[in-house]
Amino acid sequence: MRRITLLVLIAMLVTLSCSHALEGPGEPSVEQKALTYCGADTQSFVIQGSGLSPMVVEGATDDPRLEMPQVCLLRVKDADGNPVPPEPEICLADEDVEWVSQNEIRFTATSSLGLSPGEYEVVVKNPDGTKAKGTVTLIVLSDGPLVFWADPSVVYNGISTQITVYGANLGVVNQVLLINSDTGEEIPLDFTQAGTKQNRIQAVVPQGLAVGTYHIRVTSENGCAADLLRGLKITDTIGLTVTTIDPSFGWADGPTPVTITGAGFQQVPRAYLNPDQPAPDTVASSIESVAFASDARLTGVVPQGLPPGLYDLIVVNPDGNVGLLENAFTVTAEPPPVVNNISPNYLDNDGDKTVTIEGENFRDPTVSMVCRAPDGTETTLTGTVLPGGTGTSFQATLPVGGLTQGTVCVVRVTNSDGSYFDYSAIGISNPASNLNDFSTGPTLITARRAPSVAAGRATSAARYVYAIGGDDGSAAGALSSVETVAIDIFGEPSAVGWFEQPVALPEARTMAGIARVGRYLYLVGGNDGTGATASVRRAQVLDPLAAPKIVDVAARKGDPAVTEGIGAGVWYYRVSAVMADDDPSNPGGETLPSEPLVVNLAQEIEGTLVLTLIWEPIAGAKAYRIYRSPTGDLPVGSELRLAEVAEPATSYEDVAPPGPISGPPPLPLGATGVWMGLPDLGTAREAAGVAVARDPVAADQWHLYAIGGRDGGDLATWERLTITVAADGSHGVGTWAAGGANISAARAELSAFSVSHAEAAQVPAGTTYVYAGGGTGSNNVDVAEVAAGGDLVWSAVDAMPPGRAGYAGLAGAGFLFVFGGAQGGPSDSCASGEIDPGAPPQIVNWNNEGVKLNVPRYFAGSAEESAFIFVVGGATSGGAPSATMERTVL
């Protein structure tokens, strides 16, 4: 009994000595709340609740301290909102928790916690281990909010200006503030969010703000804020010279490319249109895609959708200098006029002449002309519109009497609302309709005998002459390269001169025929350096409107641990598409690049930014190419290829740091797509005559003819390829069909001429004649009217003077013209045969023109663009290929 009692006592003592309990005030609680960790290095949060308290620990030692309520984070969902397997809690350091009262604690999350993006449960425990009831969640963003660019970064306080603030990871923005960096004054801005990821903020900076520098603060709905320090400068200094904006009008329902001239432009100004009579809440409209061409010239695009009316033009330099051009631009409610044709487009200078002007959208038009004489003198004349016109056609009398032969007149048709169209051009001749003197143009990069020469247009205003292939003086030295030169509205070749096309022929080709339909160039036959070929190829003059469009840009901070992203400066980006290998127009070829995206990163950006470009997809693309300025602050046009991404990607994250880029530049305006193969001719033909004519019945069909030529011996046969133009402008072709009866005599080194009402007013509208000129072995000239379906039935007309072969030929102003190529060698002579005004297609007779080429030529190429004739290359005296070009006016 005593032993049992002793054991019980010992057990009680042991139990007592081992007992230990820690108790708090009961179960604390937290109020339900959703927090967002914005990704900053540190961010503080507030939690409300009850019964939250620190506890004294080590209180009887010489180092007493407090144990705060423990805050731990338990990840429950990933960044995409999917539940995640249980993970260890991440508990904050005690010093990162602050106690305010039993109803409030604060904690600070730091990047050192290494939190993965996603949703976390915030677990709060009092020091006694009691978990607080209630739910607090913490959303950890993969990247914190960021604002990196305000466009423009300088605004004029005389107008209300809409600015675009570019950011990343902004979420739903609920406030945009301007903060005066000097006074701290805060100005809330009206704003909207835009962009595919809602990362662009369009905010309105009201007029009248104090001059100074402002920070921009963007606060998101989740409480995250991002600052762009000194991101906006407000100025009131007007001192910049702005001279013109051309055109000075735009249609409300369409974008209008414009050119702004002035002086002292810096890279890159911003331009605005502000109503001439603004209301207090009027916001100036930004001209888009402003590119810095020089300190005197800017280009840009007036967006569609502006209210019709008169606008002032405001240009703001990056240094804050402002230029103002009052009453500079008119937005019209109706579409502007378009002139498709003026006939005749060659006028004799023996008195006033009446012309028919055809086009669209004519509304009470007036006509004027700017005429440039061969000596460069310009004269402005006013025409008289005759009664009886319609919205698509009217007649006008032009006062061309007395103008110097060779003058070129650009005709302006102006509607009553001020919108106009400049038609290029009509040529002024003498009553004998003689050609004007030739002027010499820029030199080709490569001298070429027997090039194929054609004119093409990228847009109605962007016109080019192409010199394709040719040889170095012998067919064995055939060339595959292609050169191009731009032509202005007065027919003058660009002073920049010829540039080599990035896309060459797949194989060398000389003595090939060429024809243009729409924006497609057809290259027919020729010699590939080994002999006559039956190969036919086609290339498209690329359309800038078919280029991709960059619609958004996102960003994140560059990781300093790796060298990535770009820093302060002006950067240009472009994107082009690479079409699929089965594309019907440009298989495997590249499009023109997008309009440049300009990004101007301020010096206040710490470190680097990694931008992500986002563009609209292009139907039929297999990849996209991204171009960027190699380093900051280079002028537009310096971009080089940075990367290529395969479809279906429509975005690209640019992690590449500034520095050398080895890629090529994007395709320039005027570039062609690839020279795709078409069905071969039935017979190989070199130095054949090639012409194209529209079907007289089927408006969507054209017929491409290859006539005569040489395949070992001269040929009298001809072939036809029918081209069908789809509604979208693309071309479909069948196969070459052998022609019917041959031309009257076999011959090569001839030209074929297609003559319709556009080339000769005496030819009835809807009728097209094809002429086969003389050549080697025969000076016969055969003609046939294009029948429905494209058939030709030849008949002979007046023969050319003997010995003409290897000449350049074209039709215009009612004549057939031939240049050079006589007696089997170079010649500077020019001849013409007038199409009988009373009995077309007869030729009245062939006469030598009074003018001569500046250089004797054999196997030259020629092209006609509007009223201008270009003769290019060929073999000159001694047989050497020529690198020269000449120009004259019809």
């Binding site: 820690l22 108790e23 506890m55 004294v56 080590e58 209180g59 030692t61 407090l66 039993q102």
Partner: protein, 229 residues
């Protein structure tokens, strides 16, 4: 509330226990004349000598400073003993209970500001062990030496404030086994003796609130013992 209950229970035991016992002993013991002490018998016993049952109460101050950062506080207790009937009743088996709530207040600085921190350490301890009296039983003066085991019932309170906002109170309690030694002197006066003891007690105090320290303390107390029966 718990702290109040704990203290109330102790006070009840102190206030009721000695009084009741003293009343009972007054009826059963003879008056002790310190001027004419009775003569002892051969076995050391005498009807006029102090009784063998010892009941006492004491009050004093606890000094934990040699062992921890706890501060001085009042201490009070009661004791119950029995002088064994041999060795001239110089050896007494005694049990005691005492209570003291020393504490510590301090200012704790953190990055976000200052906090006022306060802890209270309530100690209720029960002691059991022999007490030896150096002089014979009939001597009016005596010196006592005691030692033994001690059971500590410990409760620690954490409180504090910041900017006028009070912490919630946390309590931590445990029971620890320790020891004590005591040296004292007593002088016969009336039915008992007044005494002055200096007590050294110790046990572990492994509380989070206090830190891993000890209950070690030196407690001088002044009290009165009844010798009954």
């Amino acid at each position: 509330m718990k702290r109040a209950a704990f203290a109330g229970t102790l006070w009840l035991s102190l206030s009721l226990g000695p009084g009741a016992l003293a009343q009972e002993s007054a009826q059963a013991s003879a008056t002790f004349d310190t001027a004419n002490p009775p003569e002892a018998t051969a076995d050391g016993d005498s009807d006029a000598l102090p009784g063998a049952l010892v009941i006492g109460g004491e009050v004093g101050a606890i000094f934990p400073q040699p062992f921890s950062e706890l501060g001085t506080h009042v201490a009070f207790g009661i004791e119950l003993g029995y002088r064994l009937p041999f060795a001239g009743q110089r050896i007494e088996i005694m049990g005691a209970a005492a209570f003291s709530p020393p504490g510590n207040s301090t200012t704790i600085e953190r990055a976000e500001g200052e906090y006022e921190a306060e802890i209270d350490q309530q100690m209720l301890f029960f002691s059991l062990g022999p007490r030896f009296r150096v002089m014979e039983r009939a001597s009016p003066w005596n010196v006592t030496i005691a030692a033994g085991g001690r059971l500590f019932l410990l409760r620690t309170y954490s409180n504090g404030s910041r900017g006028g906002e009070e912490f919630a109170e946390f309590t931590e309690q445990s029971t620890q086994i320790g020891f004590f030694v005591a040296l004292g002197g007593e002088y016969v006066l009336g039915p008992g003796a007044i005494f002055l003891d200096v007590d050294l007690g110790w046990s572990k105090l492994p509380h989070e609130i206090t830190g891993d320290v000890s209950t070690g303390n030196i407690t001088p107390t002044l009290g009165y013992r009844f010798f009954l029966l």
